[in-house]
Point group: C2
Chain length 246, copies 2
């Protein structure tokens, strides 16, 4: 058996998320169907992690085992011809037998895009969260608020209810804030993220930047492990899994 | 009667173009339906020009006459709440009685976006033309080829068949080539453009940059007024009407 590692881009708008589920379109299912057509094998595709409905990826990673003799580097072209246009395979390579897209990952990079404009954008409607809290978000405050989250913390208060993860300690290596006209991109790099953590972190940074949460209380709020003290969960559309680190 | 000027952004993917037509969705029809709901008036919306199926706009301009007393600046918010998410009104103002979005225009700015990457992009599939002619397009050659088109020329050979325009002389003020990673954006500024002219110009610049059309023959090709000697008509998805000049 050969172990094939795929790098995948998708527009998550029309999917109920990465993970296969009954009666709902998923990215995993589409790719598994493509592999079935290509190789005749009903494989189980291991993703690096789930992404929710409407969340995008420019660098999702997944692996599967195959007995086919298709050269590893041929999978993108072959699969892209079988996949819907909103999913594209960007790379593939043969991986070590013990490589697992999820368990071998050492970290992830996500981006969250805000559109800070008076009116919404037709073109970016599925790829940015339209923020109208104030005319111009304070980038210095966003940066200052971000700095409190960098490092190793118990992010229990920044996790969606209903998650059953036991170890809620995570390390955030970096949060980068960049701007391009009315777009603001927050790029998070960490060793892993809890369910909805980036969306809650972004909602908290937003609230801190407009004074709805006092910036100096952020360390206390993290320590409190109380979801209610954090900010809102911002919408899925602004979120993209940019890269998985191994 | 008041004359209202609207500035409009749209994702043209799901429309058969700007212009209203039977049995096909159009941007003009959606906005006229919105105005009807808002004011009770069945207006005729004058666009600055048609855009084809799949072509986008970040700065289309249109005007209409109304007897309603809604303040001019209130139209964006009111109409956006009635329009589909892929059309947004970005601005509105009261215009002079004799303002006409098409006849008053003195020029237009269009952009055409190329994605020069090995594999297609799921996220940009509707907003860039995936170019695989060569691994890396030569930006210097694109710039050099562009320079031959700047100025006043008879662009008869760069117009789609079936157009009945008589005066085919147009002035191009500038063609700017900019890059952002694997994206290449060509921005055209001119006093007006013929039917499909930007898409044929872009196809010609592409062919010239890869040597399929000799760059030094471009002046001759323009003079020949022969559509067959120009390059291909590149797809609609890469094209966006950025701004209308008055």
């Amino acid at each position: 058996m050969r172990n094939i590692k795929l790098t995948i881009e998708y527009d998550g708008t029309n999917y109920k998320g990465w993970q296969i589920q009954p009666n709902a379109p998923s990215v995993q299912e589409e790719i598994q169907k493509g592999i079935l057509k290509l190789t005749g094998e009903a494989v189980e595709l291991n993703g690096s992690g789930r992404t929710d409905a409407g969340v995008h990826a420019r660098g999702q990673v997944a692996n599967f085992f195959t007995v086919s003799s298709i050269p590893a580097e041929k999978f993108p072209l072959a699969l892209n011809s079988l996949l819907p246009m909103d999913i594209t395979i960007k790379g593939s390579e043969e991986a070590a037998d013990d490589f697992h897209a999820r368990y071998s990952a050492t970290g992830k990079i996500y981006s969250y895009t805000l559109l800070n404009s008076r009116f919404p954008s037709a073109i970016l409607r599925n790829f940015a969260y339209h923020v109208t809290y104030c005319e111009k978000l304070d980038i210095d405050k966003l940066n200052k608020a971000s700095s409190y989250f960098i490092g190793t913390h118990d992010f229990c208060g920044f996790m969606a209810a209903g998650s059953h993860v036991k170890d809620t300690v995570r390390t955030i290596y970096d949060i980068n804030v960049s701007t391009d006209g009315e777009l603001i991109k927050l790029t998070y790099q960490g060793n892993g993220f809890l369910y909805n953590m980036i969306r809650i972190l972004t909602g908290t940074l937003l609230y801190a930047s407009i004074g709805r949460i006092p910036i100096e209380e952020l360390p206390e709020i993290i320590k409190s492990k109380n979801r209610v003290r954090a900010g809102i969960t911002v919408p899925a559309c602004g979120l993209s899994l940019e890269k998985v680190l191994y």
